[in-house]
Each structure stands twice: as C-alpha cells, then as structure tokens.
C-alpha cells in the first residue's frame, strides 16, 4: 500500500499536512519586518541565517482573519519552492506522520472559500481529519490570475 510522509501542523485548531519532502525545517521566530503595501497574507520578512525569508500568514491564505500580535508566537514551517524558501506561519507544529493513500479523500464539497484552493484532500485519521495542502498554492500570495486571492 502506497504511503506518504506528511509534516503536520495546526492552524486555528485544524490539522494540516505538507509533503515532508517540501519542508526544509521548522522553527519559532517572533520578529518579522512588515512589508507595507504587500498583500495581507504576507506576514513579514525575517532573517534565516542570512537569507531573507518571506513569511506567509496561512490564516489569511485560508480565508481566516490575520494573525494578531498578541497570539502565541507563530511557528514557521519553511517550505522550499522552486524560486525561494518561504515560511508558512502556523500555530503549532505536529509530528511527521506516515499516511496510507487509502485513507485519502478529495476535499469535501462543503469545503468552500479560499481554503478550497489550497487543500488537495483529507486524510481520515483516528478521531480527526488531516487536510493536505498544496505547497505551491499555500505559499502563493500573488497568484498570476489572482482569482485565488480575490475570492472570499
């Protein structure tokens, strides 16, 4: 049975997973340089060992209100894309889990809004669902067609 490894994390108490091969590292950081005029989903820039990394607020990407400063310090899931390394701001980091393909289902039709575009499907775990994210779309704050961003 085919299985894949996912790095898991929580945003707004929902469990998400990313293909572990796409994840460079996970770290906590709390000083971000805001980028005025940037899309709301850009949480800021920070210095990762000399690299300037853009942090993407996954809450905004999922159509939730942006992360507030008072919230517990965000965790960064650093994701490798073709162009750059990007950080996804999440609430909590979970484990790396191995998931069987037969527990996977496409996203339920009731899933609407911006989140729908980012989620490739759901893994049925014991007692909860893990939503698999499309890495490229998750970090894309500025889609070419920009339909993804405008939609509510």
């Amino acid at each position: 049975m085919a299985s894949r490894q996912y790095a898991t994390f929580e945003v707004a108490d929902q469990l998400f997973g990313l293909d572990v091969a796409k994840v460079q590292e996970v770290l906590s950081f709390d000083q971000y340089t805001p980028v005025p005029l940037a899309p709301e989903s850009v949480g800021g820039l920070f210095n990762l060992r000399g690299q300037v990394i853009a942090a993407v607020d996954l809450r905004v990407q999922l159509g939730l209100p942006p992360r507030t400063k008072s919230a517990e310090p965000a965790m960064n899931v650093i994701v490798k894309t073709e162009e750059e390394s990007v950080s996804l701001l999440v609430d909590r980091i979970g484990e790396v889990v191995t998931l069987q393909d037969d527990t996977f289902e496409p996203p339920p039709d009731t899933l609407q809004g911006r989140a729908r575009h980012l989620i490739t499907g759901a893994f049925k775990l014991d007692g909860r669902l893990l939503l698999a994210l499309d890495t490229t779309k998750a970090v894309n704050t500025n889609p070419p067609g920009s339909s993804n961003n405008r939609e509510e």
Binding site: P36, A38, V42, L45, V52, E83
Partner: protein, 840 residues
C-alpha cells in the same frame, strides 16, 4: 609579440580551452556519429581558431585548421560519414594545433615548420569518397606518406609505436607524428617509449578510451598489423633519411617534456586564469555579505566589552573582512576596456557616415567595474558616444571656421572617485547652448518660462534628459529621436548611478556617468518610519534637513501639496508613512527629518521619523512576490540581524506622482519670491565665537586632516581635487582665540569661475534660516559685517568678501559679483548658481 601580446595571450587562453572542449566533442562524436550539434560545435571552434590565427598571421596554424575546417564542414553537411579514421585525423589535427599553440606561447611566434603530413592526413579523409578505405590510410599514416612526399618522418614514428605498443597504442600513434612534424630529433627508439607516454599525458583522455576500446578496437587491431608491416618496411627507408629521423625524436623527446613544459608555460597563460561560474561568484559574494554583517554585529558587541585582546581581534577581523570583501568583489570585476574596445569601430563608421574627422582617445581603460554593471552601462555609453559623434563634434569645415583643428577629439575617460567609477564622454565640439535648450524646452512644453527663469545653467542643461527632448534638427538613424538621453539616464539610475552633463559653448560637452562599484554591497542611509527601519541607497541622498518646528523650518502647502523651502527653492515633500500606507501617530510635520533625494531628475524631500546612520549594506534581492509593489529595491540585514527593506527612490517618486511629466519645481514661484529675505546661514564656531556665513555662497563643506594643510610662503594651502586650495583660518582673520586643534579641520569651500578658497573654522554648528532685519550693523569690526541674534545667541556676520580676498587676493579678478551688493540682503537667486549640494 610585444604590441600584439595581449591579443595573443587571450587567443592562447581561449584556444586552449577550445581545444579541450574539442577533444571531448570529437570523442563524443564517435559515440554518436550523426550528431549535427557536436559537429557544428567542433566546426565553430576550429573556425574560430582559424579566423584568429589568420588575423594574427600564424600561417601554419591557419593552414592546419583550414583543412580541418574543410573536413568538418563536409561532415557537418553530411557529405561524408564519420569514421574512426576521420576521428583520428581530426584528433591529429587538434594535436598539431595544440603543439603549434604551445610553440607560439613559448616563442611568441610560429617557428618555421612543416605540417604537410597532418594536412595530407586530413585531406586524405576529405578526398576519399567513402570513409572505409580511408581508415587504413589515416591510421597507418604510411599510406599518407607515399601520398605526400613531405611526410616521410611521420611514418617512422607512427610505425614505431604501432609496432611495439601493438593494438593498444595505435590511436596514440597519430597523435605523435604531429608533434614531430613540429620539431624533431632523437632516436626512434625513444620515440616509441615517449609516444605512449604522450598518448597518456596529452590527448589521452579522449582518444584511448573510446577509440580503441569499443567499436574501434577490432578495426584498429586489424589495421595495426598493416601499419606495423609497412612501418617495418618503412623503417629502413626512414633510416635512410636519418636527419629527419633524428629530428623526430626531439619532438617526441620534446613532447614528453613538453607535457611538463607545457604545463609550466601554460600555467603562465591558461592556468593563471580560470573560468568560474558566475553563480559561484555570486554565492561567494553573498557569503562575504554575511560575513560583513556578522563583522558589524561582532564589532558592535566588542565595543561594549572593553577587553583589549578582544578589541584587537575585532579590529583584525574587521580588516580581514574588508580585504576579503574587496578581493571577492574584484573577482567580478572586468576592465571597462571590454566595452570600449568596440567603440573605435563605432566612431570610425559613424564619423565617415557624417563626414567628420574624429580621433578617439581613451584614458583609464583598465578601470574595472562589476561585470553586471558593465553590461548595464554598455548601451548608455554607446549612445553617448554616438550622440557625441552625431551632434557633438562639428564637421571639419565648421571646426576650421571656428578656429579649431579639423579633427575633433572624443575622449573616453574612466577613473575612480569616492567609491564610484566615473566614466566621462567628452568631446571638443560645439557644446550645448543653454539658451537653445531653454527655447526648445519651452517650445515642447517641457517647462514654462517662469520655471525657466528660476533655473540655473546646469538645470537647464539637464533638461536634455527629459523624456521627449531632442535638439537634433533632423532625425538621423543614429540619434535624434528624442528617446536617447532620457533612456541613458533611466538605465544609469536603474543601477544606482547618475548621469550629468556639462558643456561650454564652442568648447565641447562632457557627459559624466557615476556608477557604483558593485550592486551587491551599497552605501546606504538607514531611517526610521512608523517604528520600522528602511534603507535608502546613499547615492540618491543629497542632504538631510531636520524640521524641529522652532527654527522656522516648516512644511508649507501649495494648494494642499506639502513643500519645504530649501535654500529658497521649493522642495516637494513626500511622506514615507503616507506613501507606504502606514498608520501615523498624530502630526508628522515637525520633529521629523527630510531626506532630500534625487531620482530621475526630480528632487524631492522624503519625510521620515528619524535618521539613524549610514553604513554598507548587502543587497538581497526580493522575489517576485514583492516586485509588483514596486516601492522596494531589495532587502538587507541590519547590524542587529533584522531585515530592513531598501526603498526604491525612483518608484517612491513615481508613486507620489512626482515624476508625472509636468514637474513640480514650479509649485508656485510667488511663494518663493515672497520668502526671499529669509536667508540660509551657516553657523560656524571660531574660537568661542559664533560666525554666520551665507550658505548660498558656500560650494561645499569639507573636513581635511590637519596634516594635509601645507604651507607655501606665508599662506596655508591644501590639495583638493587636483587644485591647490588656499586656506584661511577665520580665527586668524577675526583674531579669535584658537582652541586646541583637533586632528581634522572643517572648512567651508567657495568656488567661483574655477577658483576656490577654503575658510577653516573650528566647528560647523548648524544651518539656520533667518531673517536678519533686526541685526545690528556696526561695520567697525575687522572682517565682520555686523552681528545678529540667531538661536538666542549673538552671532557675528562674516564679511565673506574680505575673508575670501584675505585667502586669495586674486579670487575676484575675473568677476566680482559681490562688489556691489550685500550678500546678506540679496535675494537668494543671484547666488544660487554657485551652490552645489554637498552630496552631489
């Protein structure tokens, strides 16, 4: 070789590289005989060598490559098939070429010699209708020998290796003969020994493996006996002509050492420079950037520790880092000659098109620039040169009529100045007439007459950089479409440089490009706005003004547009917090800083909360994610490790609608005139006294190390920008107490009509804007015009004219604008012409 030295060197380096590539290609070709791509690549390489060697008059080289080329073109065009034999012939040809190159490298020229045997071998492949019969011919060489009388030597050698070394060596054999052909001597026996060696050392990598091993093995094996036989037969023959036979060994003896020799001598050329992937250099540059940053942090931390050992170590690190940074930057440097070398042709062609006689002079062509910058400068520079030929320099008749030599001179000059590279394009042509520029600018609606009235000569000349401006009477295919100069300016500014023009009617025009040394590390000003720090490239910053609300420096509004009077001129203001859409806490009109910036020919003041410092920062490019925003040129890491955004000054200006064609400098000239009697005064400390100097008369503020001040006769002077600048200590003039001298002396520089003087003060205290109506005027005191209360303190007003004359009695001989008027109450217009902002 002397005068051609550089060219030959370059040719050698390039050719050696090409040959290595060629070896690989040829071998690869055998694996996939039909590959047109490989054939084309090989053809090009040989063609290049042939072309250059023809140009450099290396006739042997040319001849050998010529036949090679012929064979290759047939192969490439499919006129004949690739066979092991052709491969061998080609490899032989390559080895001959290599030998010739080595010889050239060693002697600086070709020695007389005979390559006909190689030529014949290659020709044999060509003339052959089919590939198959050829094989033996080439491999065995002997067949070739009979064909060409000149080849007797070759057989010997070829045979020799073949015989002893048996099947394994045959491929090597072809390689060897070539070498002998070049030189020659020792006994054949040695040859045999040597050859395999050579085979291993030199072309070995490619030929041995594929040629004999796979497909080739059987045929060569078959062939070998043949050659061996003939060789045996030939041996006596060759023994017959012993002199030649004797010679070949030398070569073979030659080659072996040559391999070593070669290595040594080639190190002098090919191995001394290596090609490095630009990406690798970029990475190095990044790492050095990191190091610079870490250094900054560490040095800062050490500053707070007060441990001498630590401090020393810190200083050492500081030094090493700086040196490393410099060296790495150097790896990316290329001489500007790379660009210039194409210009003589351009000038020649253009001048003949226009019937002009032009001599092109180049100064400082070894000046180096970062290669990416070099690329960016290429088009603007070419355009300036074309423009100078087209519009700058007159026709011979006009020149003679104007009393100038018929031949015009176009001078390219490059040099370093203050962390920048300056590239000048200077012609001794008719010059640009400001009046004409002004007229055209008005006609084209670029400026209004009122605006024009307020512009000085330089500003008027700078109008040529406006989009849509062209003074050409006729549009030529060279220049004159009115798209040129603004593009030049845009391109140069894009790389953080600047361009300006100066011209004297009848004497010529000078275009000056100021180019940063590198793009990766820039000098930058760090400012704060909305509690975040931003970085502005220093090159755009002209000056900084603090608005404290008490000294009368305030923001005014012209129909709602915020402006600030900077030395009597209105400076449009842009609020950074507004532009970036930042929330602001209340007022931002006082207790703020105005950074006077210039971009795309527009000057504007950027209002920020605080100015922090200037330092070198490493530019980190931003990804496309942020490109659309447009306001940021990149990001950088500050000393504390945080990320700061680098502002794109030109975009800021555009975003604030400054750059819209209309121009904002006109924002209401009446306000300006109304404000005419508020004078800008420079307050300097002299002894325990405060002296005010009208700023409009100041050209620059400088600070000289005290030991740079020298004496001539009774005067003190300082060397400044290739001039001897008379220095007058105001404390002497005013009879003030001289306090303990520091290690540097601040001076106020006046320049007029090319003459400058420096007034040394003790301290520059402030620049204030002050109406002086209630000042006391008691012309009694020496060197002073009177005194006034400025900033609640009695401040003396310097008699600048007297001071200047005391420093340089001849200063005003040519012109004395101050003779008739009191500088303190002049409208500021009259003096503005001489003012250049210190950062310009």
């Amino acid at each position: 070789m002397s005068e051609l030295g550089d060219i030959v060197q370059e040719f050698l380096v390039e050719s050696h590289e090409n040959l290595d590539q060629l070896d690989r290609d040829l071998v690869a070709l055998e694996a996939q005989p039909g590959s047109r791509e490989l054939l084309s690549s090989i053809f090009r390489t040989i063609h290049t060598i042939k072309g250059t060697s023809g140009f450099l008059a290396f006739n042997r080289l040319e001849r050998v490559t010529h036949v090679g080329e012929s064979l290759l073109s047939r192969l490439r065009d499919g006129a004949q098939e690739m066979t092991p034999a052709t491969t061998d012939a080609l490899l032989r040809m390559v080895d001959t070429v290599r030998g010739l190159l080595a010889e050239i490298e060693e002697n600086g020229q070709e020695l007389p010699g005979d390559d006909s045997e190689v030529v014949a071998a290659v020709n044999a492949c060509i003339t052959d209708g089919s590939g198959a019969p050829k094989a033996p011919a080439v491999l065995a060489t002997p067949p070739a020998a009979p064909a060409t009388p000149a080849a007797p030597i070759a057989p010997v050698v070829a045979a020799a290796p073949a015989a002893p070394a048996a099947p394994a060596t045959p491929p090597a054999a072809p390689a060897v003969p070539i070498v002998e052909a070049v030189v020659e001597q020792p006994p054949p026996v040695e040859v045999i020994v040597v050859e395999p060696v050579i085979a291993v050392v030199e072309p070995p990598v490619p030929p041995p493996a594929p040629t004999p091993a796979p497909a080739a093995t059987p045929p060569p094996a078959a062939d070998v006996p043949k050659p061996a036989a003939p060789s045996a037969a030939d041996a006596p023959k060759s023994a017959g002509p012993p002199p030649p036979a004797a010679k070949p060994p030398a070569p073979s003896g030659g080659p072996a050492p040559e391999a070593g020799d070669d290595a040594v001598s080639r190190r002098s050329v090919a191995d001394q420079s290596i090609r490095v992937d630009v990406d690798l250099l970029d990475k190095l540059m990044n790492l050095v950037g990191e190091l610079v940053l870490t250094r900054n942090q560490l040095v800062r931390a050490i500053g707070g520790v007060a441990d001498p050992a630590m401090t020393r170590t810190g200083q050492r690190l500081n030094l090493i880092t700086s040196e490393l940074q410099e060296s790495v930057m150097k790896t990316r440097m290329q001489a500007i000659d790379h660009l210039w070398s194409k210009l003589p042709r351009v000038v020649r062609d253009l001048s003949s098109t226009f019937g002009k006689q032009i001599k092109l002079a180049q100064e400082g062509k070894e000046t180096e620039l970062d290669r990416s910058l070099l690329e960016a400068v290429k088009d603007p520079l070419t355009h300036l040169v074309r423009n100078a030929v087209d519009h700058g320099i007159e026709t011979p008749e006009d020149r003679v009529a104007a009393g100038k030599p018929a031949e015009g001179t176009l001078t390219l000059r490059a040099y370093h100045e203050g962390g920048h590279v300056i590239v000048e394009v200077r012609d001794d042509g008719a010059g640009i007439d400001p009046d004409k520029i002004a007229r055209i600018a008005v006609e084209k609606g670029l400026v209004s007459r009122d605006q024009l009235a307020a512009m000085d000569r330089r500003e008027i000349l700078a109008l040529v950089f406006r989009p849509g401006f062209s003074t050409a009477k006729a549009v030529t295919n060279v220049s004159g479409r009115g798209v040129g100069m603004d593009v030049v300016k845009t391109n140069i500014e894009r790389i953080g440089g600047a361009v300006d023009v100066d011209s004297v009617v009848g004497h010529g025009t000078t275009w000056r490009l100021t180019i940063p040394l590198t793009l990766a590390i820039i000098q930058a000003l760090t400012i704060e706005c909305g509690r975040e720090r931003y970085v502005i490239p220093q090159v755009a910053v002209h000056e900084l003004v603090y608005l404290d609300g008490q000294s009368g420096r305030v923001v005014e509004h012209a129909m709602g547009a915020p402006v600030y009077r900077l030395r009597g001129k209105l400076l449009p203001l842009v609020y950074l917090d507004d532009t970036l859409g930042l929330a602001r806490d209340g007022e931002h009109d006082t207790d703020v800083y105005v950074a006077v910036l210039q971009a795309e020919g527009k000057r504007f003041g950027l209002v920020v909360d605080r100015v922090l410092n200037t330092e070198e920062v490493v530019v980190k490019p931003l990804t496309s994610r942020f490109k659309d925003i447009g306001v940021y040129a990149g990001a950088t890491l500050l000393g504390d490790g945080r990320v700061a955004l680098i502002l794109d000054v030109a975009s800021l200006a555009r975003r604030a609608h400054l750059a819209a064609g209309g121009e904002r400098t006109d924002v209401d000239t009446t306000v300006r005139r109304g404000g005419g009697n508020a004078d800008r005064l420079l307050i300097a400390g002299v002894g325990d006294r405060r002296v005010a100097i009208p700023l409009d008369m100041v050209t620059r503020l400088e600070e000289f190390p005290i030991d740079r001040i020298e004496r001539t006769g009774s005067r003190e002077v300082v060397q400044y920008r290739d001039q001897i600048l008379p220095v007058l200590r105001l404390s002497h003039l005013l009879g003030a107490y001289e306090t303990e001298p520091g290690s540097t002396v601040p001076v106020v520089v006046y320049t007029e009509n090319g003459r400058s003087v420096a007034l040394a003060v003790e301290k520059i205290l402030d620049i204030v804007e002050e109406g002086l109506d209630d000042s006391r005027r008691d012309f009694g005191d020496d060197g002073l015009l009177g005194s006034a209360v400025i900033q609640q303190r009695v401040t003396e007003l310097l008699d600048v004219r007297r001071a200047i004359l005391a420093a340089d009695p001849l200063f005003h001989t040519s012109m004395d604008p101050y003779e008739q008027h009191d500088p303190y109450h002049s409208g500021s217009e009259a003096d503005l012409n001489t003012y250049q902002p210190a950062g310009a």
